[in-house]
Symmetry: C2
């Protein structure tokens, strides 16, 4: 397309000089909340000793918040698959128009764990949908299509090995991540506004999927894996556990612990990125 | 529950005085972008001649932006069903804990139209999913459940009659709204990062669903209708069309036209609310 408006990013192929502004991007880090991505970008600026203020480069779109720190972009994807899918379509177009080379995508998220202590970091080796299938289901022209939701095994292993060697204080494990389309009933929580099953049924279900190998539950992994695979870009998913779902529904870590936990995926990814930049 | 943390709203049943702070709420207006909800709240403050600064009441949650203007709340729901479902669970709990009475929920959104001029406002009388079923599909404990996604016919008629009588400059129609889980291929767009169908196949599909009565396409209606029905709260969905999808994929209205269009659902809902408050 000669003219292309990346509507939700608030950027235009024609009006903006995408190659000049984004051509050097090599890593894209994304996660749910805009505030967390801003915090990560601030910390990365310190780590890479880059001066200048952070500017929200997608402010015109009023949907996402995007910050660029040297060769690294931080941008929030909102909550859930539909919001993420919009972001990925427009980011893939952005890196193509900007002629970026070999960009690696990371999701840095929070999640519920299954039999894992809060604070544990899970690097996804596999992901499954809410019915334990290793696929991402999308409806196109009224027909269901199942896309393979595979992840780069080498990159996942590299991240785990890197973190184990350099950050022994952070508990980290490979895992199988389940993606759901809802945080409450969709994740077997009984503490929503309504719930059609008992706490006992929820507990049986959560133990069943844990026995099948599911280590953690969040709301984006299958879409992230499937769309990155289709676009032929490397990607990794690194989530920190905020609550052990075999123990309860509510996230009840205090602010200090929360801040300590949520920085863990960043610590691993940012140092891994630095090791590549400096190699 | 004695202790309940409305995690994504950043409010707690215990720590906050929800009855004092929210007990007078009668109307909740929600839509995708935080920026648009803030603009609406500012305008409502003018309309109701209420003093004081707007404060984001869900700032602690870092997920949504919530503003209260007298008996009216404005809060964004992000993009897509999963994000909306989280918001509705926590809002339903909030209004229950605050002992609000007969709260009415409105979605004020933007959408693509089918054979309708940009700027047309559609009040949904029906909504359907991406396979033209009048239901909202959710997976609970691994099993698919279909919830009825019905809308209050009287409220929809009242809004249309009120707007037709008082805002003859705004084109408004009843409609059947389709909800999808993606903005690009999921809405038969060919302008995403990739596309597995031809423009001709997309055109045939869009004409087929238009022939079945679908007037507009967006990403939240079925969930909004189904969850409000289940919670036994009245709701209405009012979307303004930004692009006629039988004519093209891209949203290309200029900024002035966009601002003119996006205020239309607000004009109708805010004046309808005022007419009820003053009656």
């Amino acid at each position: 397309m000669e003219v292309d408006h990346l509507y939700h990013l608030g950027l235009t192929k024609q009006g903006d000089n995408l190659e000049k502004d984004f051509g050097d991007v090599r890593f894209i880090c994304t996660g749910g909340a805009a505030h967390r991505m801003y915090t990560y970008a601030l910390m990365m600026k310190e780590e890479l000793r880059i001066d200048g203020d952070l500017i929200d480069l997608s402010a015109d779109g009023h949907r996402f918040s995007m910050y660029k720190v040297g060769p690294v972009i931080f941008i929030n994807h909102g909550m859930g698959v539909p919001s993420l899918s919009i972001l990925l379509h427009e980011l893939f177009k952005l890196v193509a128009y900007a002629k970026c080379k070999d960009v690696v995508f990371f999701r840095l998220g929070t999640c519920g764990g299954l039999g894992k202590a809060p604070g544990t970091v899970i690097v996804s080796k596999r992901c499954v949908d809410n019915q334990c299938r290793s696929t991402f289901r999308i409806v196109k022209l009224g027909k269901e299509i199942n896309m393979e939701a595979t992840l780069d095994q080498e990159l996942a292993n590299n991240l785990i090995n890197y973190a184990s060697a350099n950050h022994p204080d952070i508990p980290i494990e490979p895992g199988c991540t389940m993606t759901t389309d809802d945080f409450y009933e969709g994740q077997a929580r009984c503490d929503g506004a309504f719930c059609d099953f008992t706490r006992e049924q929820a507990s049986i279900y959560l133990n069943e999927i844990a026995a099948k190998g599911v280590t953690n539950i969040e709301m984006e992994a299958t879409c992230f894996a499937a769309m990155c695979t289709k676009a032929r870009v490397k990607c990794a998913i690194v989530n920190v556990i905020l609550v052990d779902r075999l123990e309860g529904d509510q996230v009840r870590v205090d602010k200090e612990t929360y801040n300590n936990f949520q920085v863990r995926p960043f610590t691993i990814i940012s140092n891994y990125i630095k090791s590549i930049i400096n190699s």
